[in-house]
Symmetry: D2
């Protein structure tokens, strides 16, 4: 008998488990594979709060608040789990390579200024000064010094470990098959490892959440957007900030690693890496930072980001089944939004009114295939 069962051991589920454990709830995480093996492991770990700023999006303020939580959280997780999440506040440099990209980028810059967030416009020359390894065909850049990055797999592991150190339980290789309810109130879940009871169940299964919910009266419109990435390594740092172009991004990691990503293939659950995607990423990366040609090949992988019809996550309670919650649909900002999502979900469960911007009433009703 648990206070809260969390379905899904990715970065979102682990962050919720961590926040609830801090508030002395008895939490069980049920994960069908192992902790942090899917989208949370595939992520490059960029904290692009400003990079993702859109003038009218309710996500903007959330992103900034969540980004602000990282420094203190990094300390806390290190002391609880011994894991350094490799937080780097070295900024994101978004660059333009054509006139039209330059125009779009200037608009983004204008919006940054309205929003009052620190942002710098760089000329092509200034981009070269800041990141000498970048090629010469850069027409301009937008530098957001306060955006940063973490090591996504370590971040997820640190959240889960810290939750465990505070008393949470984890059950891996266990699939939740159905929700148990009584008079429209959740009472637990049936799993491939037996039945577990709790009067609060939070679904944090990312792109996999649909399967569970489609059996309820609230079909979701979540769908996976597959992304392919690869990593290379050298013995020096060619770039210092995360570089973001319209065709790829480069995230410099500790020890000379660089993660290059990411393709976007909607409605695709294939976990393999097709040659085409890998080749197009390489072409873009080499065009952007020619010196990467000497970097050593490391490995390639793919992940599946949970996307929604209006690109906003769901953080809400089931309209008909009391105690059944959903926190999914963070698309490519799951790492960035995990800290605040954990905090908010804990608040909601304790009675704080949910933010309708992330509620169910907005969901489309069209059939969606994962």
């Amino acid at each position: 008998m648990y206070d809260v069962i969390i379905v899904g051991g990715g970065v979102i589920g682990s962050s919720i488990a961590f926040q609830l454990s801090k508030r002395d709830y008895q939490v069980l995480i049920i994960e069908k594979d192992e902790i942090g093996q899917k989208a949370s492991r595939a992520a490059a770990g960029m904290l692009g709060a400003q990079n993702e700023l859109k003038s009218d999006s309710p996500l903007s303020s959330l992103s900034l608040q969540s980004r602000a939580m990282f420094p203190a959280l990094a300390e806390e997780l290190k002391s609880l789990s011994g894991i350094d999440i490799e937080l780097l506040q070295s900024g994101i440099l978004r660059i333009a390579q054509t006139k039209s990209e330059s125009t779009r980028l200037k608009q983004a810059f204008a919006h940054q200024q309205e929003s009052g967030e620190e942002a710098l416009w760089l000329s092509g020359e200034q981009v070269k000064e800041k990141e000498p390894a970048i090629n010469n065909a850069i027409t301009g850049g937008l530098y957001m010094a306060n955006d940063g990055q973490v090591n996504a797999p370590l971040f997820t592991k640190a959240l889960a470990q810290s939750a465990v150190s505070l008393g949470a339980d984890i059950l891996e290789y266990t699939e939740v098959q159905e929700f148990l309810t009584e008079n429209n109130h959740i009472t637990g879940v049936n799993t491939t490892n037996g039945t577990f009871l709790a009067d609060t169940v939070i679904t944090a299964g990312g792109a996999w959440s649909n399967w569970l919910w489609e059996k309820t009266s609230v079909p979701l419109d979540l769908y996976p957007v597959k992304g392919e990435c690869f990593s290379i390594r050298g013995n020096e740092h060619l770039i210092t900030s995360s570089i973001f172009s319209e065709s790829c991004y480069l995230v410099p990691k500790a020890g000379g690693r660089v993660i290059v990503g990411a393709t976007q293939r909607p409605h695709n659950m294939d976990q393999s890496v097709p040659l085409e995607g890998l080749h197009s990423l390489m072409t873009s990366a080499l065009q952007l930072v020619p010196e990467l040609k000497h970097a050593k090949w490391e490995t390639a992988w793919s992940g599946h980001r949970p996307q929604t019809a209006d690109s906003l996550p769901y953080m809400d309670e089931h309209p008909e089944i009391q105690g059944l919650w959903l926190a999914s649909g963070h698309f490519r900002n799951g790492i960035l939004l995990a800290p605040l999502t954990g905090l908010l979900m804990a608040d909601y469960i304790e009675g704080k009114p949910v933010d309708k911007a992330f509620g169910f009433q907005r969901r489309t009703h069209k059939e969606v295939h994962l």
Copy 2:
């Protein structure tokens, strides 16, 4: 629109697809992962038709018939797919290390003789002559020269490839979510990649078949029995026949590899390899063939064999949904039984009456957790 949709791309599903493709059916294999990645990959590939002989089991004759199919099948698959399945008819040597084991083994020998199958009783000395690397504490052995082995992952791959070369299609990373029916007749399946239509659907999902069928009116009693294995390699062959004791088995593979297996953990879907299981296998293997101590560590893995209440597979049509078939529950003999299962299922679909010994009426109705 296909003639037959096969749900599950393991050795059973691939063998059925191969046989149906030979009869010019348009076949689609739908696999939630990749072809032959689960139990079919984990298998050591022993063809223990006699080793599994039980006096009164309807499986005995099936096993012998299926074993007899391998030599011709190996040729056929090699020419169609270019894959050599590494068929070795080097026999299985079952050994006894204690008096009680010796007694049980003598009973097995007696039954072999009744059955008229070629089998040899060996004294401890004769075992040592045949396999000098075996330790001295052997009280006796039962040698079944006609049992053999194949490379299980290559065998599955060869069946699938050969089916494709005959026109079959394969759809990987696709989960079947529900069966589509009309007036109690199957019409197709809904999957995570859309809807596919066929008036014959065969479920060959091994331990995973339950999930699909539990939504129908015929709940199954299939459950997984997890097995852990490991492999080592050397530059010479310490043993020539597959050696089978009550605590472990050793299967010599091409190139000096030896596969050691296998633990048995019922109702366990965990895919990791716990230290305990690995250690107990090593202890047994080293006790049995001390010279293995110099062999090089290669790797460890686990798989999940689909078991049933009475240890017999299901090969039958759904009693209420016409055109929906099941071929699962072959436990640890999936590789051995795949050739005949493919043949039988093709016959059944063409109207041959099914063998009630493998029908649904025998299934228990108790709740089973995978």
Copy 3:
């Protein structure tokens, strides 16, 4: 005390060990790593006897004789080691994509005809008929039906295993540090695992042979030419013959694998795979067979082919140290030439006069760095 010590457990050393073991010599292979881990493992396994034909090269007839040995050898190795070397005599298709390539290819074709070897000239249309997956920009092709391929790592393993099954010994992770001599006759070697005696020592260390010989009075001019490769896999065969262009080659393997190779970096011992090399191979492969874009990424690797100043191997006895032999420098034809090299070296050691075309007198004396 051995009859013959072979320094180097690659495909050349293993083939010599196999042939000598067949003639009842007591052979020891000393390998600094493990059997067949370097160039022999990296090779794509093409048997391009005709593909490599050069009008005036003494290598031409050797290549054809060695190619002719494979069918019988494959049988022999399978029965001795249980390893199928995946011999495929499906031909090599060399294609031209530009006018100038077409001209060069026509010259090659002309030479094939003079040589009397079976070869076919294909128009662009005929190339498309033969290999429909090839792009349309092909101006012509030269098809050599009798060229083929094997699985290079399995071939090396099969040779070593067969030698062991005939009595040879293998000592791995052992470096030969110096040759022992007495009155200008070899008496053995000092290694990191002690001293071993034999009055015949054959150096078959590929690109590594220089180090040993530079301490003798006969400095060599061997140098490594690094090659990078990668492999992809699918569930069907897009191509049936090995396709060879001026920018890359594609070798279809059993089970839907395709090996793409290979870059050429002289004087480079780096074992990593630089992004640049990988990207250029991918670009060429996708341009040649566009449908490969859907193939699944598998892995990348590199190897170091032993090249000589005049691109001919050395198979000769040291001019001043009796009993010390060298068989190295087969560049990218080590797999193809291994069978005959094994046979010839065994003959030479038994007194057959060596072929001066592969002797030391031709070697240049310039300093060479490996």
Copy 4:
């Protein structure tokens, strides 16, 4: 033209390169493989300064001084390279399981007290209180709170990266073939990538240093002691301190990993992991902490520690070749001693008199085989 060439990119060479780069020397590290791939990668990273205390050993004070350098060094490396070396000062708990072990352990404790180092004697019950997962058969324990651990591969990588960030160069996959001298003064090295000049050359090749030096007038008595290890992982920390018994040690790492080591095989350069060694470590680990039986298997590896006849490292200048230095032979304390070794070697090169305790005059002259 460099100020200093360091032969060997392990933890010792990287630490020397780091200290010299801080003093503005132009340094080149030449590594035959990649940075930190051999013994430095295999190490469990224990900082057992007190654990290794021997009453009369000149190593004792060195070990304590070097251990004291870690906290500040960890900060410095993190800021220079972005790598967290996972320094944990959680103590080493050395335990006794038999009367005789208890006696030896009490002697060690007595010596700790004489040395004035903080150490605690624990009864069997107290051991259980401190580490509840330990089995019950413990007769006593010696707890050294100030000993700790780091992540050995990350530590080496951080040292090398920091050196590079301060201007050092690294040349990988390059073997030094001979030393160049002029009038008994070093002038550079010949390598497989050409000649490099410097009037100071430091050999830091661990067990590989012998090969280079045996060509000089000072043959060494270094030899490798092979060690095998394995790692497992869970979602919780079963143990908090590093546990050290006479048959194995357990080092808890970030994220629930535990490294178990290590066998000791003198004069063995084999890089494979024999089944025997793996099995004996597992048996000891499970006997010591039974709950590890549920931990997930991760991987196994081996490394080769550089040992000397009197178990003391060499840090000295060649008696006949001026400017040629050696820093090798740190056996299983390379990680612990790296910080001080880097500092001392930098001092020696700047003229500080060397410590004769680690000089050449003590070396034995018997033939040694690596």
